[in-house]
């Protein structure tokens, strides 16, 4: 885990936690640009099933990813209650559809436990950076750069 070695050395960090299906995840708050409500997206031809389409974010074209489907869970059925987390991944901006934003956490690195060795797929191991136990809840810290691998987009 080179990421852990590189990034978990700072003293406290702020994470934003959100619910997807019955699980809770969190990402570094620094990569989140804004949180907005769901608006219908324009479908993209030949896109993978987790790609819901593109929306207009104040004049820019923003792709929306169904995080549930992306993480290998049941595809979401977007409603007005869903929210879109607009995040910066390297030099691109993407929107992630999640059920709800649940919390903002300030934690120190020693609170992050290594990912349990039970996840089966290589992919799930690649984006899960660790787990947090907060008030009896299990929150999985995910790495956006693994969820949206940049190189492949540039190559495409």
């Amino acid at each position: 885990m080179t990421y852990a070695a590189r990034n978990l050395t700072t003293d406290g960090r702020e994470l934003i936690a959100f619910r997807v299906g019955d699980q809770e995840f969190c990402v570094n708050v620094m990569s989140v640009r804004e949180i907005r409500g769901w608006t219908p997206a324009t479908a993209m031809p030949h896109a993978p099933d987790y790609m819901l389409g593109i929306i207009n974010l104040r004049g820019a074209v923003l792709p929306i990813v169904d995080l549930s489907a992306r993480l290998g869970m049941k595809p979401a059925e977007p409603t007005v209650r869903h929210v879109i987390i607009v995040a910066q991944v390297k030099n691109q901006v993407v929107g992630m559809l999640v059920d709800a934003v649940s919390d903002i956490l300030t934690i120190t690195d020693d609170k992050i436990q290594p990912t349990p060795d039970v996840v089966s797929s290589e992919f799930e191991r690649s984006f899960a950076r660790g787990v947090l136990a907060i008030e009896g809840r299990l929150i999985c810290l995910i790495e956006l750069e693994s969820v949206f691998p940049q190189e492949e987009r540039e190559a495409a």
Binding site: P40, T42, F123
Partner: protein, 762 residues
């Protein structure tokens, strides 16, 4: 401002100077003998040399110097700029451009070529005319001053006038001619950073000199404007360097001063006698001696100040005096006077360059392209916002007679106007691209041994900068093709009863909101038999295919097609016209060819004026809104059941005026629906695509025609096959813009592969 920035400005100015140089030389080539044209050419080279010297770019300086020397011969009428001379000069201009680019980007130049040209230029400067044509003998070579100008009237023989001869005939005269110079600077001279004292000092180096300063024009102190020039100098100079040398000293000041240079026969005509001014002795030693400054200038100031007691004016006058003082000090301090002189001349050059640029065009400013782009983006937002606002007002206001609607209409008009004006900021004349082409023509003409004349028209036609940037490559290809394949060799041309020199005509003009660029050559035209045979050999068409002339001509746009028998350096690798066609289409343009055997070919390109906005047909496909670029659509039609014919396993054809055209279901190709739609319920858009083939695109309905702002999909997503870009509609939703060519290609069996490989990562 650091050195790099200054250097960058220098290179930007170099580019302007090079453009000026080339257009000047081309004018001369066309027979223009206006001395101002020659001067402009000379100034351009001189400015580049001066700037390059300041940055220590020795290669550039040494080449520019030789070039300048030769140009000086032309300027002083010692060298007639005939076609052979201009050929060398145009080549030299190319090398100068190469050297400038090499100095900026650190590339290398063809040294052999520049050495060869230096030799040729030196030969010209020494009066050797290439090809020993019946040019005037190098008469003026020995004479320091050639008084008789070369007049191009027939029957007039230029007469060289040499002072050497003059002196020989009249031994009574003194050794050196004496010149009387009246130098009266205007305030502009100082405003541009020139300094009279430095000019006078330069002058003093030419020979024995006495100076009188005329201060008659100096007003009383209350009427004295600190920024005006009041002094004039009357100089008597004994020199053997000639009048030209004297004028060279004032080279960059001559527009900003009154300068009279007269030759006085001998000492008998004492300086100053005939002029009704009261000469005041002016001591040039102030340049080297500080106390002299205080005596010569400040005392004068004090006297006047005492008379008038106006403090403010005195302060500024004192400032002027201290400027002179500083100047003198710096001249003192400089170990070698040369460096100060060089700095002054560099300053003079940049001032002259600015003046030259200012006189050539209306005042302009340099703006960072990013800022303009930001503005254009914002205006794009404004247009979208305005459309959204209008739409929601219309939805909420059923009666539609309120003043809100009136206001909205005005807003719409305003936004449209703002958009047009902002787009106009990016619009640039096509001139730079056209100028680059003249060089390419020269080079290829040289390589192929053909004689070619490039005529350009409509160089000032304006088009968006991005279009211009992307235009250079296809145009280069086409010019190469025109010269290499289009034009015949001089022998063949003469045999065909044409002049040995081929003509390539490059024209730009605006036509109905697009720019049309035409490239015409007067060559042999397309050899249709050869093209046809080649196409059959390459399996592009069937051996018995029945093609119209136009269709055969269009075959040259096929990939892997080249009719040149030999593969040359220039063209003939079979990548050429297909690349041209693709780059033109990528710009949203079209290219056509029309050819007349024996009379040449005409390529016509039609391009949009901007790449930021597109005229599109808004259509519905499987409940999705899509935009089809209007440029691709030939016509729209409502198919009737009788016109639809099934063909093969799952193909359908539509008959349009007795010809069959494949029907392409856009929804099916883009995977928006599983089964094919019923054509009778929809609308067919007849589109023309790469290779000239027509297809009928099936869409469900047409919503309307609209100008849309193009938004990149790649910025935050990835390229999607079949989709060119996205746009934002009036309701705020994103619509996709179809890439008609890929859709058509997909209908031919090239599947649109889902290139989103994110799934593969799982």
């Amino acid at each position: 401002m650091d050195m790099n920035e200054i250097k960058e400005i220098f290179f930007q100015e170099c580019e302007e100077q090079l453009a000026e140089l080339e257009s000047g030389l081309l004018k001369l080539n066309d027979g223009d003998r206006d001395p101002e044209t020659v001067n402009a050419v000379f100034r351009a080279v001189h400015s580049i040399k001066g700037g390059a010297g300041a940055f220590g770019l020795d290669d550039l300086v040494s080449f520019a110097h030789v070039f300048e020397t030769t140009l000086d011969c032309v300027r002083s009428n010692r060298l007639d700029p005939g076609p052979e001379v201009l050929k060398v000069m145009l080549k030299s201009a190319d090398v100068l451009a190469d050297l400038t680019n090499a100095a900026r980007d650190g590339g290398s130049v063809d040294e052999a070529r520049s050495r060869q040209l230096i030799k040729e230029l030196e030969a010209l400067a020494n009066g050797e005319v290439p090809q020993a044509s019946a040019a005037p003998e190098p008469v003026a070579k020995a004479a320091p001053v050639a008084v008789a100008p070369v007049v191009n009237d027939e029957g007039f023989q230029p007469v060289a006038f040499s002072f050497d001869d003059f002196e020989a005939d009249e031994p009574a005269l003194i050794d050196m001619p004496t010149y009387e110079i009246v130098f009266k600077p205007k305030s502009d001279l100082y405003a541009k950073g020139n300094e009279a004292t430095l000019l006078l000092r330069d002058l003093s180096r030419l020979g024995e000199m006495s100076i009188h300063c005329d201060m008659d024009a100096l007003p009383a102190l209350d009427r004295l404007s600190p920024e005006s020039a009041y002094f004039a100098w009357k100089i008597s100079l004994k020199t053997d360097k000639g009048e030209d040398a004297i004028r060279t000293v004032f080279e960059f000041a001559e527009w900003d001063c009154d300068l009279e240079v007269t030759l006085v026969a001998g000492e008998a005509a004492a300086p100053g006698e005939e002029l009704p001014m009261q000469p005041v002795p002016f001591d040039l030693s102030i340049l080297d001696d500080e106390p002299a400054v205080s005596v010569g200038v400040i005392e004068e100031e004090e006297q006047l100040a005492a008379q008038q007691e106006i403090r403010d004016a005195a302060v500024s006058a004192a400032a002027t005096a201290s400027n002179v003082l500083q100047m003198a000090q710096s001249a003192n301090r400089a170990p070698a006077e040369k460096s100060a002189g060089a700095a002054a001349s560099a300053a003079a050059q940049s001032a002259a360059a600015q003046q030259a640029a200012a006189s050539a065009a209306t005042p302009t400013i340099r703006v960072d392209l990013d800022r303009v782009d930001r503005l254009i983006n914002l205006v794009g937002e404004l247009v979208i916002n305005q459309a959204m606002l209008s739409q929601s007002v219309v939805e909420n206001d059923a009666n539609g007679t309120s003043s809100i609607n009136m206001g909205l209409e005005e807003l719409q008009q305003l936004t449209r106007e703002i958009q047009d004006s902002v787009m106009a900021i990016r619009a640039q004349p096509v001139k730079p691209v056209f100028q680059r082409m003249s060089r390419i023509v020269r080079e290829i003409a040289d390589m192929t041994g053909k004689s070619v004349r490039l005529i350009t028209e409509g160089e000032n036609t304006e088009v968006d900068k991005t279009v211009i940037d992307k235009l250079a490559e296809p145009l280069t290809h086409m010019i190469r093709n025109a010269v290499d394949h289009g034009l015949e060799t001089p022998e063949k041309r003469l045999a065909a009863g044409k002049s040995a020199e081929g003509t390539v005509r490059l024209t730009a003009k605006h036509r109905s909101g697009r720019i049309v660029i035409e490239l015409a050559d007067d060559g042999a035209g397309i050899n249709r038999e050869k093209v046809r045979q080649k196409a059959i050999d390459n399996d592009l068409i069937a051996a018995d295919a029945n093609l119209s002339d136009e269709e055969i001509d269009n075959l040259i746009f096929h990939a892997g097609f080249s009719t040149a028998d030999k593969i040359s350096d220039i063209s003939g690798r079979g990548v050429g016209m297909d690349v041209v066609k693709r780059s033109i289409q990528a710009l949203g343009g079209r290219i056509n060819i029309s050819s007349k055997p024996g009379h040449g070919s005409i390529f016509t390109m039609s391009l949009p004026l901007t790449l930021a906005v597109l005229d599109g047909m808004v259509v519905t496909v499987a409940n999705q809104t899509l935009v089809v670029p209007l440029t691709a659509i030939v016509e729209t039609l409502q198919p009737e059941a009788a016109a639809i014919h099934s063909f093969g396993s799952n193909q359908r054809l539509i008959s349009i005026r007795n010809s069959f055209c494949p029907l392409v279901d856009v929804g099916r190709i883009l995977n928006f629906r599983a089964s094919q739609a019923n054509p009778v319920e929809g609308v067919a858009l007849l589109v023309e695509s790469e290779g000239g083939g027509q297809r009928a695109l099936m869409v469900d309905a047409i919503q309307g025609q609209r100008q849309v702002v193009i938004k990149s999909l790649e910025a935050n997503y990835t390229h999607v096959p079949g989709i060119a870009a996205a746009t934002i509609l009036g309701d705020g939703r994103v619509a996709l813009i179809l890439d008609v060519d890929t859709i058509v290609a997909a209908s031919r069996g090239h599947s649109l592969k889902p290139e989103m490989s994110l799934a593969a990562a799982g």
